[in-house]
């Protein structure tokens, strides 16, 4: 699928936004200002963006504990996300959810999730609503290798097949399930297992935006033709630990360094579009600089934003009680 210059610049901007957001959080986490558990998405940007560039606000995604990238790619406001992660009253979820529970239903973002395997069944329900609407909208669940071993995910896959829903199961294989290698926990070939449930599998290079974008185009074509659900499997890496503060003893010393140097999704994107003379390097540099300044500003405003009070703690448990 040929993408316009505008599309390509937008995709790069989204990937850079995710990268800068996460790299900055990695630094800010050490300051002690950010509370709770933070799981960073850096290294997997090509997947979230390659998929969500196909989606509109009427399409739905469910996400994971490692959700910032999916949120940004699906259109959540990064400034309000930053305020949320800082636990501010004007954060995207009023400071009640934090990093692991960012959601924006108006954008079709059904939530990051603290439970591994919690999202896919929810996304199956959203796909049911999409099917009922009949407007061509779809639902996508993101999950890692860890979630691929959850019974909830098996049930969700079978249910989507039975009901022939417009649902795409994305599995992002970043090499690890928490502190254990994916090769240990996934007992058989994931694509084969997924096919066994009756889902066609589209595979992509998760380090390469254009590969993911094309695989998602193929997946959407299948789903929108009314052929039922399918899966998209992409390998990538995470540049940071399972959570911020994870000493990562399970990883070879230079693994991340080597991957950053040889397979980085942003560097590859840049090389591809500049070598093809689609985009000038200077245009990308300008985006980089703009985003660095923007994230700086988000952190500054998050620090100054008001803390939530008791009324925020006590409201919204119910609509009416």
């Amino acid at each position: 699928m040929q993408q316009s210059r505008t599309d390509i610049l937008k995709a790069y901007r989204q990937m850079r936004m995710i990268r800068e957001f996460e790299e900055r959080l990695h630094i800010e986490n050490r300051s002690g200002e950010i509370a709770g558990f933070t799981h960073l998405y850096a290294g997997q940007e090509a997947i979230a963006v390659g998929i969500c560039e196909h989606l509109t606000d009427r399409d739905y995604i469910s996400s994971t504990h490692r959700g910032h990238g999916h949120c940004i790619a699906k259109g959540c406001d990064p400034r309000l996300m930053m305020h949320e992660i800082y636990g501010r009253a004007d954060g995207l979820c009023k400071g009640r959810g934090g990093s692991m529970h960012i959601a924006d239903i108006d954008k079709g973002m059904l939530g990051a999730n603290g439970i591994v395997g919690g999202g896919p069944p929810i996304a199956v329900g959203a796909a049911l609503a999409c099917q009922a609407r009949g407007d061509g909208s779809v639902a996508v669940s993101f999950g890692g290798g860890g979630s691929s071993n959850q019974g909830t995910v098996f049930e969700a896959m079978n249910m989507a097949v039975v009901l022939k829903l417009p649902k795409i199961f994305v599995f992002e294989l970043n090499g690890y399930s928490e502190h254990t290698g994916e090769g240990y926990g996934i007992g058989s070939d994931l694509a084969g297992r997924t096919r066994g449930f009756g889902l066609p599998v589209f595979e992509a290079d998760g380090f390469d935006y254009f590969s993911v974008y094309q695989a998602m185009a193929d997946a959407l074509e299948h789903v929108r033709a009314g052929k039922g659900p399918c899966a998209l499997i992409a390998e990538a890496t995470r540049y940071f630990g399972h959570f911020e503060g994870d000493p990562q003893n399970y990883r070879a010393k230079d693994e991340v360094k080597t991957l950053r140097e040889t397979r980085d999704a942003l560097l590859r994107f840049r090389r591809k579009v500049t070598e093809a003379k689609l985009i000038e390097a200077a245009e990308l540099d300008a985006i980089d600089a703009e985003i660095v300044a923007f994230i700086e500003d988000c952190v500054t405003s998050a620090r100054k934003a008001p803390a939530p009070g008791a009324e925020i703690m006590l409201s919204d448990v119910y609509a009416d009680y």
Partner: protein
């Protein structure tokens, strides 16, 4: 006696029991960690909070079993292994994940002995970290003992200090019933004197932490030390309390609570969990049913509000019953103001 953290005390108990009984196995996500990782080093985690560290080195991967992220199958593994004669210690990482494994706990493990005519036993320990205090938000901070204590067939315990952590975990492993063993994540690094060598503490029965005359204060888990802080402040004003560490929420030590209440005439229950159908309400009901004649003031419950656990520091601080709220509740019970 040696001063140790609760983490170290729990680790001691696991070594102690695994050395004693070859049928004791440890099952869970990252209980060792590092399997299939690029560094090649096992025991890369030793449990998400380090409680199972070092077990792999001594006992190997036949007894220290890293699993995929599959909570339902983890508990199923423990259930079947127990029915077939082993003594599994399963770890669910965060107590909140119990939701994923609920059928295996609630419909299976809890009911085997009863349903099967008393001919089956399920000597299983399910370890879980629980509680607020790390800003881990709504799905990683809950205190779920009341929910599980409501299930006949499950024993539920909540140690509040390192010595009990060691002794109660050993007792839980030796017990022939399923025991839900809840470790407060804000207490893992708390220190206390722990008996050296083989140590087993009673699994149930409350303990009297300090005694006084004006009120009976029942607390559990992290709330015990918070209530102790409140007591220290009240003592300056001449108000003294019986502070009871509940230790076990199933069964509950009614006798100790009622005996103390008969002496003080006032009852304050401190429970980090949500208030509805809680351990606090259960203890209030016990007082109303069996200690009514002793009550000189309404029973006071100091609990979290009826909301999920919020994320932001300011919100979580308001959510968790702190020493100030506990102090105010005791003062009100005693002075009626």
């Amino acid at each position: 006696m040696t001063v140790k953290t609760m983490r170290e005390a729990l680790n001691d108990a696991l070594f102690q029991e695994m050395r004693r009984d070859p049928g004791v196995i440890v099952i869970g996500e990252d209980v060792s960690g590092g399997a299939g990782g690029s560094s090649g080093s096992r025991d890369a985690a030793g449990g998400i909070f380090g409680v199972t560290k070092g077990l792999m080195g001594e006992f190997g991967d036949k007894r220290v079993i890293d699993t995929p992220i599959s909570e339902s199958a983890i508990i199923g593994l423990a259930n079947g292994a127990a029915l077939a004669g082993m003594r599994p210690v399963a770890e669910l990482m965060f107590a909140d994940f119990v939701g994923v494994a609920m059928d295996q706990i609630y419909n299976q493990m809890a009911k085997f002995r009863y349903m099967f005519g008393g001919k089956a036993k399920a000597p299983i320990v399910v370890r879980m970290s629980m509680g607020a205090g790390m800003n881990a938000a709504a799905q990683h901070s809950q205190t779920i003992y009341s929910m599980l204590s409501a299930v006949p067939g499950l024993k539920v315990v909540v140690p509040s200090n390192p010595a009990d952590a060691k002794g109660m975990l050993a007792a839980a492993i030796r017990d022939d019933d399923p025991v839900i063993f809840l470790e407060h994540k804000a207490l893992y690094s708390s220190k206390g004197e722990v008996p050296d060598g083989e140590y087993v503490a009673p699994l149930h029965g409350a303990s009297l932490v300090q005694s006084g005359k004006d009120a009976t204060v029942v607390a559990l888990g992290r709330m015990v030390s918070f209530a102790g802080k409140a007591a220290a402040k009240l003592a300056a004003d001449g108000i003294t309390i019986d502070l009871i560490d509940l230790r076990s929420t199933s069964p509950i030590d009614e006798e100790m609570i009622l005996e103390s209440l008969s002496l003080t005439g006032r009852l304050v229950v401190v429970d980090e969990s949500n208030p509805i159908c809680s351990i606090a309400s259960e203890i209030a009901a016990i007082a109303a049913e069996k200690g009514f004649a002793s009550l000189r003031a309404p029973v006071a419950r100091v609990t979290a509000p009826h909301t999920p656990v919020p994320f932001a520091r300011e919100l979580e601080r308001m959510y968790v019953p702190g020493p100030d709220r506990i102090e105010a509740a005791i003062r009100k019970a005693v002075k009626g103001e």
